[in-house]
């Protein structure tokens, strides 16, 4: 079988699978075995999604969530990136911060929610703090191991060619550790995305996709919940594929630093 035929067959099965799942779901929803408020038909979910988008509430909630994620992520990068690079370059700094990071890492970010609520109150500050905590460790560990993984030969070559500490940093260490930094950013975003939804549910503010889902539970609106879940999935998917994919293509892939079959 040719590669093209195989690909069309896979595509056809892909579509079949989604269609099959939709039909099974629709059948269950319409069978009346479950309350329609708990298991709404797809058309109802679609309508809730379209209504929410048209009257502007879902985009507003999505913007509130994105604001929290991006602020928390920016804060985490601002702390973890310099610290991780310093840890990779200087032994005493590594010796001091690595044990602390290993002790804090196994604590799930959501465990801090009740404490942060008491410290910072309900709302944006708590959510941003939780996102920052969730995102900081993947970024830190990747920056640290990325700097350590820079080929020592490159450092010696650059030194031999008379590069100063500054040039060495910008021309060798940063590009050399970039695949790790990007991988760290990717993981940090995934963790942050989980943390923001949880924090929004627990530290109930009035806006945010997590809050929409949690609030819909009180009114038994499963259609609104599923619509919000769809938006959460789409945004996560878009970031993963479009933003990080493009970042990688523009930098490390173009420089030929990534093997084609990335694990």
């Amino acid at each position: 079988m040719s590669a093209l035929a195989e690909r069309t067959r896979s595509l056809r099965r892909y579509a079949t699978s989604l269609l099959l799942a939709a039909v099974v779901y629709e059948g269950l929803a319409r069978s009346g075995a479950f309350a329609p408020a708990l298991l709404p038909p797809l058309a109802t979910v679609g309508r809730a999604l379209i209504d929410g988008v048209l009257d502007g509430t879902l985009p507003a909630h999505a913007l509130a969530t994105l604001y929290r994620v991006l602020m928390g992520l920016a804060l985490a990068i601002a702390i973890a990136l310099p610290l991780g690079i310093l840890m990779g370059r200087y032994r005493p700094i590594e010796g001091f911060f690595l044990p602390l990071a290993s002790a804090l890492m196994p604590i799930p970010s959501l465990a801090w929610v009740p404490l942060f609520i008491l410290w910072f109150g309900l709302g944006n500050a708590t959510a941003i703090g939780i996102v920052c905590y969730a995102a900081i460790f993947p970024m830190l560990i990747n920056a640290w191991s990325g700097v350590r993984a820079v080929n020592p030969l490159w450092l010696r070559v650059a030194n031999a060619m008379g590069a100063g500490e500054r040039t060495l940093f910008w021309k060798v260490i940063v590009p050399g550790s970039l695949p790790f930094l990007l991988a760290g950013l990717r993981q940090a975003f995934l963790r942050a995305w989980i943390a923001v939804v949880g924090a929004e549910m627990l530290a109930a503010s009035d806006w945010g996709l997590g809050w929409v889902i949690f609030d819909a539970k009180e009114f038994l609106k499963a259609d609104v919940m599923l619509a919000a879940l769809t938006v959460i999935g789409l945004i996560g998917f878009a970031f993963e594929r479009l933003v990080f994919g493009a970042l990688e293509r523009l930098t490390v892939e173009r420089w030929g630093m990534l093997r084609t079959g990335k694990g």
Binding site: P108, V113, P114, M201, F214, A222, M225, I232
Partner: protein, 273 residues
């Protein structure tokens, strides 16, 4: 020559080794002592209200009080039981689906779109839906933990089965292995490093989600509920004691359980260093 040298040098080496070990211990302890001291100073200066920023003695005494009264162990046991049941469910279902996807093209084509659509949605976002469907309490919690941690297990098992060297499979077939033997003797051991990675990632994910779900699901016992309930009474000392226990359990899962499992299987077989 080598043997004689090492025999005579063994006594001083042992002493030097203990000195080295002591230094390593001191180096690891130092950052905690420094951070603890800063925490203590800030707490005692009462820059923040003592109820919100308790000193380390208060946290330690809350820990001792809760442990002696049996509350903390009870919460911890309930949390761990939920984790274990949810994770066992995820491991059984996830590994089976992953192997099926790796072995049969049809299973792969049919389940891959569903799995890759479900995976990027944060697990905690499903929590209210599960609570609506299965009610408040243990059933929702365990099902959600299982559901969420199944994704990394499926993905890694699938990759692992596909990564088994074609040559091994053909060699086994040429030597007359039937389907059963092929599976037990070649495919399962060959895919095991990936499967273990998947289980490890799945467990970490399960642990992160479980704490959040316990706060939402209003189960009467569990560490997540304990620290969330403490908020009502401004018991920050109870919260911080709970967070310490949560961190310790997380660390133990990673270091004791999986390290052992790996040492016993793939490392011993020389598949991983």
């Amino acid at each position: 020559m080598q043997g004689v040298g090492s025999a005579t040098a063994s006594a001083p080496t042992a002493r030097r080794l203990s000195v080295v070990r002591w230094h390593a211990f001191a180096a690891t302890a130092l950052p905690f002592v420094v951070v603890g001291a800063i925490w203590e100073i800030v707490a005692h200066l009462e820059i923040f209200p003592a109820r919100l920023f308790p000193s380390l003695e208060t946290i330690a005494s809350a820990f001792v009080r809760l442990t002696v009264s049996g509350l903390l162990p009870q919460h911890a046991v309930d949390t761990v039981l939920r984790l274990v049941s949810g994770f066992a469910l995820a491991a059984a279902v996830g590994v089976s689906i992953g192997i099926a996807m790796g072995r049969w093209r049809l299973a792969e084509d049919l389940s891959l779109p569903l799995v890759s659509m479900g995976a990027p949605i944060p697990g905690i976002a499903y929590a209210p839906l599960f609570l609506l469907w299965f009610g408040l309490g243990n059933v929702s919690t365990i099902l959600l933990v299982g559901f969420v941690s199944a994704f990394p297990i499926i993905f890694n098992t699938w990759t692992g089965v596909k990564a088994v060297k074609e040559v091994w499979v053909r060699a086994a077939l040429a030597m007359g292995a039937d389907d059963r033997r092929l599976f037990h003797k070649v495919i399962l051991p060959g895919a095991l490093p990936h499967i273990l990675t998947g289980l490890r990632l799945g467990l970490a994910q399960a642990w992160r989600i479980l704490i959040g779900v316990e706060m939402l699901a209003a189960v009467p016992w569990g560490l997540g509920w304990m620290i969330f309930g403490a908020r009502e009474f401004l018991n920050t000392d109870v919260m911080l004691a709970g967070i310490v226990v949560i961190g310790a359990i997380g660390l133990a899962l990673e270091k004791l359980v999986f390290k052992r499992l790996e040492d016993f299987t793939v490392v011993r077989w020389g598949m991983m260093t």
